[in-house]
Structures are given as structure tokens and as C-alpha cells.
């Protein structure tokens, strides 16, 4: 198998991304600290270029291609956040991008990808095979930018971990735990490498939506298992069939565990993010905050970082959750 990415790859990614990404701040809320009985530090990648962390990995991947490979254009499939990351990166390199997106992806995400100049190819996420959809473009010589199971993608997302550890150090705190939204595992595995490198004792948790807890069940089984078909979730950004090969190999070494959260907990977390942090967080981006109420992460007197991974949510969906 591919060599696993390591801390040196994350440092290299950070150097490539320097000046192009937002170093997202660490934020906290006195009210949430009081409620949870610990100190909760939020890393809002909602404020990142394209409204999610995905730009980090996508740009790092495009940087890692040769100019000749990149010049033939790039292709990706994504429900929308990776799509925007790839579209923005391709626009910055001045190369063509084709993105296969589920026809029921949030309209805001589809619109943003088009506005960044990429071609959108819609597909049915319950029936179509993603690789079949993108095959004609790969055959034309375009390079695939995978959503998570790729060393350059993982290293790019891992730069969040570098920032997090350095910002926590500047605050004079040591992190007892970090909670991270998890779909295919690119974000959690990347961050886990940087966190474990700086602080082996910090517990790293992946958080998934109910019925899409493939990483949680894979950790329990000791091998990659898939989600049962037939479920749906408001957490569109993190609905993957199963963990990646590389991401799971990293996660099974580094994670303290994975936690599944209900849709009601996600909605409440989105309302808490609005009221206490003044941040717009999309459902899939808010699962790690939702996990704080699960009782599975030790919070009392602890210092815990929570990654808010994206904020690309349609007005109507968001208004409905805020009004509830």
C-alpha cells in the first residue's frame, strides 16, 4: 500500500499553503465552558477560504502534481465542500476542473462551484457509481483529486493540527482531547498525525452522524466495514460509504475512538454555534460540538478542542433549524 503520510508531509503542506489559507482562530464561549465544565476551544474552519477545511487538502494535492499533469485539468467527486476546494484551487492554478456532484447537494454548494468556474456533472448518489461518472474525464487525461484517501489530501487537512497545537501552546494550555468531524477520515487522520506528533497524550476523537458511523464500527471490528444502505442524514458533507484505506490505517493507530451523534444533537449544536459563537456551521461541520453532549469525552476540568469543519448550508435549511 501507499506509504502513510507523516508529520514532514504536513509541514511541507503548511509551507505550500502559507499565505493562501486563513489561519483560523481559536474561539471560546464563557457560556459553553460553563455548561460543559471544561475549557472548549473551537477551531472554525467555517472561516476558511471556500467555507470549509477542504481547500487545504485540495490545494496541496494540486501543488503535488507536475505542471504537465495539472495542465490537463483535474476531476473530483464531492457533495460540495471538497468540490469547492478543488474548484478554488484549480482557478488559482488556472487549470480546468470538472466536479461530479450529487444532484441533491445543497444548492449553495453547487452554485459556489459553478461561480468558481468549474464544470458540474450531476449524479444520483443512491444509484450511480462515482468512479463511472468521472471515468470519461480521467480517460481524457485529467487528474483525479480524491476526496480523502490520498496522502497529499490528508497532509493538507493535517495543517489544521499544526495550527491548533501552536495556538493552544500560545494560550498556555495543553489539550486533553480533540474532537473532529469524520466522513471518509481525511480530516481526522490528518489532524491526528499533527496532534500526536506534538502531544502523544492528547486523545483524538472522530465524530460521525448516526447510521454513518463506519469509522466507529470499523475501529470496533479492527477492519474497514461499510455503512448499511438506505439511510439518509442532514450531514451531507460527511456521508461516506466506508473509511478510506489510508485514512483508516492512520485512524486506527491514532484515535481514542469514534462517536456517533443523532440529528437532534446536530441541530442543537448548530443552534449553540449560532447563539454562543455567532458562527454559521453546516450540519456535517457541527458533529464534533454535538459530541460534547454525548458523555463520551471527558470534559470536567479538561481542555478540549473542537473542529467546526464547514459552514456551507442553504438559507432554507439553516433558517428551519434556527427557527425550531
Amino acid at each position: 500500500m501507499t506509504t502513510l503520510p507523516g508529520i514532514a508531509d504536513i509541514h511541507a503542506a503548511a509551507a505550500r499553503l502559507s499565505g493562501l489559507i486563513v489561519e483560523t482562530p481559536l474561539l471560546e464561549s464563557a457560556e459553553l465552558n460553563k455548561r460543559f465544565g471544561g475549557r472548549i476551544l473551537f477551531k472554525p474552519e467555517t472561516l476558511q477560504r471556500t467555507g470549509s477545511f477542504k481547500f487545504r487538502g485540495a490545494y496541496n494535492k494540486l501543488s503535488s502534481l507536475s505542471a504537465e499533469e495539472r495542465g490537463r485539468g483535474v476531476v473530483a467527486f464531492s457533495s460540495g465542500n471538497h468540490a469547492q476546494g478543488v474548484a478554488a484551487s484549480a482557478a488559482m492554478f488556472g487549470v480546468e476542473a470538472v466536479i461530479a456532484m450529487p444532484a441533491d447537494a445543497p444548492a449553495m454548494k453547487i452554485g459556489n462551484v459553478r461561480r468558481m468556474g468549474a464544470q458540474v456533472v450531476p449524479f444520483d448518489r443512491f444509484r450511480d457509481d462515482r468512479m463511472t461518472v468521472v471515468r470519461p474525464y480521467l480517460d481524457k487525461g485529467m487528474a483525479l483529486v480524491p476526496p480523502f484517501d490520498d496522502p497529499a489530501i490528508i497532509a493538507g487537512q493535517g495543517t489544521i493540527g499544526l495550527e491548533l497545537m501552536s495556538q493552544a501552546k500560545a494560550l498556555g494550555v495543553s489539550l486533553d482531547a480533540v474532537a473532529i468531524p469524520c466522513g471518509g477520515g481525511g480530516l481526522s487522520s490528518g489532524i491526528s498525525i499533527a496532534v500526536k506528533d506534538a502531544s502523544p497524550g492528547t486523545a483524538v476523537w472522530a465524530v460521525e452522524p448516526e447510521h454513518f458511523d463506519d469509522t466507529r464500527r470499523s475501529l470496533a471490528a479492527g477492519a474497514r466495514v461499510s455503512n448499511d444502505p438506505g439511510y439518509n442524514s442532514i450531514c451531507d458533507a460527511i456521508l461516506t460509504a466506508e473509511p478510506g484505506i489510508i485514512t483508516f490505517e492512520i485512524n486506527r493507530r491514532n484515535l481514542a475512538g469514534a462517536i456517533a451523534v443523532s440529528e437532534d444533537a446536530v441541530r442543537q449544536a448548530m443552534r449553540d454555534a449560532m447563539a454562543q459563537l455567532k458562527l454559521v456551521v453546516e450540519p456535517g461541520g457541527c458533529v464534533a460540538l454535538a459530541a460534547l453532549s454525548s458523555g463520551q469525552i471527558d470534559l470536567a476540568g479538561k481542555c478540549v478542542a473542537v473542529v467546526l469543519s464547514g459552514g456551507n448550508v442553504d438559507f432554507a435549511t439553516y433558517a428551519g433549524i434556527m427557527a425550531a
Copy 2:
């Protein structure tokens, strides 16, 4: 009259606030830059402790009292953001706080003030005289923390200007203009001192809601004039009767002008902040973004900073505006 606060007072305030406030980041959106044809840098004081800039001035004012004065407790009147700033500051100093708040202030603001341990005294903002409401507490020896017309308050709010100029410099840009929400003028006057000190050529604009454009009309008249009674506005945070004496004296020297924006423009700006910046901004906190569409600030090819001053808005109000 009182000596006008100057840049030295703002530096002193910054030293007092260091480590207690969030150094709010500068954020930008590729989409908004494209739409306005310039580079727009947002200073989100929505992310400040208590959800608005008001903590800066309130804490600086409490710091400037003697321990003996402060120990007798503090009293303030406010629609909610200054209230929260004073309540949080009083809690940090361990002194009593009484806040007179309009009975129709957003429930979130009233709830937050109570949760921070302050006593809330409701009043009718259309009928009651604010000073009459707080008089019994002043008579008991409690110190008044004015909402804007006070050198220590102005200097505290001015620390935003220091951060803004230093962050712009770090980005390697020079600001052509700064747009700032304006009620009584504490925020705009304070920021104007720091901006003009660092960059005399930068135009500083105050932005007000329609029918509450007392600073705009006062600048035109060359003297403080009041708003006509009988109007209401969704911009609860910045509905003052007239400019302050000190704030107007500073603003008439430093401002390029003041701009009045419609409620429709404010609602659109709140939706832009949600979709493009992923920030929850309350109506009064969003007027400076709304002013970008007014045509009154030269944007083409320019670099313009916009202060988003607060994010304390009720769920129902916010959901209604997002759903529109």
C-alpha cells in the same frame, strides 16, 4: 468640556485589555471582493467576548475606576450589547452590576445579561427617561458606565482600530476606507482616532439605520441634532436619540461622512454575511456591510475595512431574515 481621548488613551486601553479580549481576525470573501470590485476586509467583533465590541469599552471603563468606586457596583442602560459588556466586566472584577434594559430588547440579550449575574431593570424605551430609571442606583453610590459618551469607553472601542491597522499592515495592504456601524458614535469615534493616527489618508465612514441617521444629519448641520421620534428599526443595537457630545466632537474632525442604510439593505447584508462569511451578524452590527451597496464609498480597486460590530440576535428574528 472633557478632554478628548487620544491615541495614548487607546494604547493604554489595549494594554489593559490584553489577554482578556479576542484579537478578532480580518476575514474576506472572494465572492464579495468580486461583487464589489475591491478588496473588502471584515473585522468581526461578533467573535468578541459577549458577542460584540462593547466589552472593550466597558472593561476599560471599569478598569479606570478606583477599586473603591468599582466596589460600590456599576450601573448602565443599554439595549443589550453594552449591557453584556458591562455585566461581563463586572463579573470579572467581582462587583455588582445593575442594567436598565428596554423591555423589548432581544430576549437573548436580556438572558445573557442575567446569566452573567447582573440585575436587569426593564424600562419602556419610548416613554421612560433612562437617567430617571438608573437614578436610584446612582444615589446608592453605584458608578454609571455610559454607553458611549465617555473617554474611557471611546478609548476601549478604539482598540479595534489599533488591531485593524496592524493586521492590515501585516497583510501588506493600505486601507482606503473603513466603514463602521454608528449609534451614539463611541465605536466610530474610537476607531477613527486609531485609524487617523496611523493613516491620515484613510477615509472613515460611520453608518446608521434610516431614520436614525443623527450623526449624518449632525455632520451636515455642523452641530448635534436629534432623530425625529416615532420611528422604529430592526437595528436595536444602534438606536440612539442623538450623537454624544464627545463622540460628535471627534467624529466631526475625523469622519469622511456618514451613510444611512435601509432595513432591506441590512437584511440583505445579514444574508451575505451568513452565506459568504459564515458569520451571524445582528441587524445593527451589519449596517457597514449594507453601506457597501449604497454607492457612497469608493470601492473599485480599493481596499476597504468593514466592522461587523455584534452578533446578538434572537433565533426567531434571525431565522425570519435567513428564510426571506
